[in-house]
């Protein structure tokens, strides 16, 4: 089946101007997009990357439907006729717009055209003409965004998910920004081989998804994904639409549970691969619960040693590193992310004392986007802050 075709059951990213939303496509499902409720039926069977126009649903003012567009009408710009001098007399008392919510809703339902709606809003605003030119431009941009009528359907990627999660709320990914994520991946030396160990106490599945993406499809590599709760966070893991073979090589286990399993059954993990052993046992004893099977699978791999240890935790990293570093093969890298520098400073001093790690560094990034337009090129006026990454090399 053509993977470029949008299917029911896919996770899709709906993009409207700079705004993106992750959505699992159901048959006859709707999606709320800003102030709109949108029916998605028409996108099924179309191709990823296509653009759709929101159109009012006949007979239902509240509902919008999507129609595929193949060309754009000419867009005309809105002229500002008069501007005010300063913002001294502008008080936003909510009374400045003559159009009622009902009027606006009617406008939207007649024909959703951001340009014409914004023009009507301006014409009915008591304060627009006394705003400064600067505020007027801001107002137009904001309103155009609100009533923008085109959406695009995209297939989720790590890049899009990382960007979207961070924009929505950096705490969704423990503060991991896209540059942080990119460097965690390179410093861990992850590739389509080996076993990789991750402790993640809440990146919405972004970190395991990104690592699994680097392991690739059909490879012999594994990711052991330790989490602190009953269930791991997996939004990004499922959003990536990984094939089952690949998804299955990400072993999600509870930190306590797997460590207990490891310490209690240590001697058994040197035996032949678990799969064989399990099969023999299957007939004799009642089938083990799934979590226990996963724990044992993880322990088999841990016992052989892992090729990277990656930690992104809410908890203080020292105890975690002390416990998990035993599984890291000598000659491989430890990567610890934190939104604050101080816990990593503690870890730095801890590792220096213990002497079994070298090449210890803490890094952070300054990242800035640019507006590049003829005669108007400058860095974007807003900037975010990233986190800190400690990297260290384990000795044999």
């Amino acid at each position: 089946m053509d993977q470029n075709v949008i299917k029911v059951g896919d996770f899709v990213i709906v993009q409207r101007q700079g705004y993106t939303k992750l959505h699992k496509l159901k048959a006859h499902g709707t999606l709320s997009l800003g102030s709109f409720t949108v029916e998605l039926d028409n996108i099924v069977g179309e191709k990823y990357g296509a653009t759709f126009q929101m159109k009012n649903f006949p007979g239902n003012r509240k509902l919008f439907t999507l129609e595929k567009v193949d060309e754009m009408p000419g867009i005309t710009s809105i002229n500002i006729e008069k501007s005010g001098l300063d913002n001294r007399n502008i008080t936003d008392d909510g009374q400045s717009q003559n159009l009622t919510t009902e009027d606006i809703s009617k406008l939207k339902s007649e024909e959703l055209n951001s340009n014409s709606i914004v023009e009507k809003l301006i014409n009915n605003s008591k304060t627009f003409n006394s705003k400064t030119e600067y505020s007027q431009e801001k107002y137009i941009k904001k309103k155009e965004k609100k009533y923008f009528e085109y959406v695009q359907i995209r297939r989720p990627t790590i890049r899009l998910l990382a960007t979207m999660f961070y924009r929505q709320d950096p705490s969704k990914t423990l503060g991991i920004r896209i540059d942080d994520l990119s460097q965690i991946l390179t410093y861990s030396n992850i590739q389509s081989q080996g076993t990789h160990l991750l402790y993640d106490s809440g990146t919405s599945g972004l970190l395991p998804a990104a690592l699994l993406h680097q392991l690739g499809g059909g490879s012999p590599a594994h990711l052991i994904h330790l989490h602190p709760g009953n269930e791991c966070q997996k939004s990004a893991l499922v959003a990536m639409n990984f094939p089952p073979e690949q998804l299955n090589r990400c072993i999600n286990v509870n930190l306590y549970s797997v460590l207990r399993c490891y310490y209690q059954q240590k001697e058994t993990f040197d035996d032949p691969p678990a799969s064989k052993k399990m099969k023999i046992e299957e007939g004799a004893v009642p089938k083990k619960p799934n979590w226990q099977m996963e724990n044992e699978r993880a322990c088999q791999l841990l016992n052989k040693g892992v090729d990277s240890l990656i930690i992104a935790s809410k908890e203080h990293p020292n105890a975690l590193v002390s416990q998990l570093a035993q599984f890291l093969t000598g000659g491989r890298n430890l990567i610890v992310f934190n939104q604050s520098r101080e816990p990593l400073q503690d870890l730095y001093l801890h590792l220096k004392e213990k002497l079994d790690f070298i090449h210890i560094k803490i890094v952070t990034n300054f990242m800035r986007n640019y507006q590049v337009l003829a005669n108007r090129t400058h860095p974007e006026v807003n900037m975010t802050t990233g986190g800190y990454i400690l990297t260290a090399f384990k000795l044999k």
Binding site: D86, N87, L259, Y263, E315, H378, E380, V381
Partner: protein, 326 residues
């Protein structure tokens, strides 16, 4: 009248800074009456999130003291150019304190300096320039817009700064800075859409003994054109820079410390989350979620004294000829 010298007590007519929280700072006037939007004289009451404040009540209060509001309290501060920059009515994009600070130091401004500014804009920089040059120096500030000129002139009067500043309406790009300022200025500041059109005129206003110039521009293309003109005209020490300030608040965070060692010995499979309640306190400086990523590029240059100018032009040209192509 509260911008000149250090004051102890609020006088009638003073502009006063009302501090509620670090992000709620307002400028108000200590006057009993004010004009309503319709031009009628009404009681001057300032609405705060913590209740109304009768501005007349401020008169006689010491600066730095606590003010009780109906639902909370605030503090009154004597305005400084920095506080004014935070609270002034925006008529334009304004210049903020990190850039202002660098401009004053790089332009080598001190009491007695004669400074020329264009455009005046909302007067954010002007207040800091006046503080630096008074009482013996002077600021000549120009703006293209008549109304801005009038508003800022009124503000300077209200702030008690009129003696130290002259505000004029003028398009300096086409008309220059006027004959009265010929060879008068120690330094010139430009915040204009097309600074390269004004730069040639600065040759006439800077003192014969030389001076400094600064151009503030948001876009790199403006910088490129300005630097080219500066170099051709014999300015030296041409330097473009950017200053971005981050402001931190300090917090004590509690990080859970996981106890995992017990798993080695304990045999029964009780609650997995039972043992993680230990915490470690961690003092950390927290940056804002979003910070300024750009204000503008600051380009500085020196105009050499007259006796060294021609030499500088030939030097600049030689350097340009000498630079290899990309």
């Amino acid at each position: 009248m509260s911008f000149d010298d250090y004051k102890a007590v609020i006088d009638e007519g003073d502009t006063v800074i009302l501090y509620l929280t670090i992000s709620q700072i307002y400028s108000i006037r200590a006057e009993a009456k004010t004009l309503s939007k319709k031009g009628v004289e009404v009681e001057n009451v300032f609405q705060t999130p913590y209740g109304a404040l009768k501005c007349a009540d401020l008169i006689g209060k010491p600066y730095g003291s606590k003010i009780t509001l109906s639902k909370g309290w605030g503090y009154v501060m004597q305005p400084t150019p920095e506080l004014w920059t935070q609270t002034l009515p925006h008529r334009t994009q304004i210049i903020y304190t990190p850039d202002i600070s660098m401009i004053i130091l790089q332009l080598e401004i001190a009491p007695g300096s004669i400074v020329v500014e264009s455009g005046t804009g909302s007067g954010s920089l002007s207040h800091a320039l006046i503080r630096a040059v008074k009482p013996t120096g002077h600021l000549y500030t120009f703006d293209f817009h008549k109304n801005r000129v009038e508003l800022v002139r009124e503000e300077f009067a209200q702030h008690g700064l009129s003696d130290y500043v002259t505000v004029s309406q003028r398009d300096v790009c086409s008309s220059g800075f006027g004959d009265e300022l010929e060879n008068k200025a120690d330094s010139v500041f430009l915040d204009l859409p097309h600074p390269w059109q004004a730069i040639p005129h600065t040759l006439n206003v800077i003192k014969e003994t030389g001076g400094r110039i600064c151009s503030f521009s948001p876009c790199i293309e403006q910088v490129q054109k300005s630097c080219e003109v500066l170099s051709k005209l014999g300015f030296q020490e041409i330097q473009t820079m950017e200053v971005l300030q981050t402001s931190y608040s300090v917090q004590t965070r509690k990080l859970p410390v996981l106890d995992l060692d017990f798993l080695k010995s304990e045999k029964d499979g009780t609650e997995t989350k039972g043992k993680e309640r230990e915490v470690v306190k961690c003092v950390t400086a927290v940056p804002p979620a979003s910070m300024p990523g750009h204000t503008g590029y600051l380009t500085f240059a020196s105009l050499p004294p007259v006796w060294a100018r021609s030499l500088q032009i030939s030097l600049n040209q030689a350097q340009e000829d000498n630079s290899p192509d990309l």
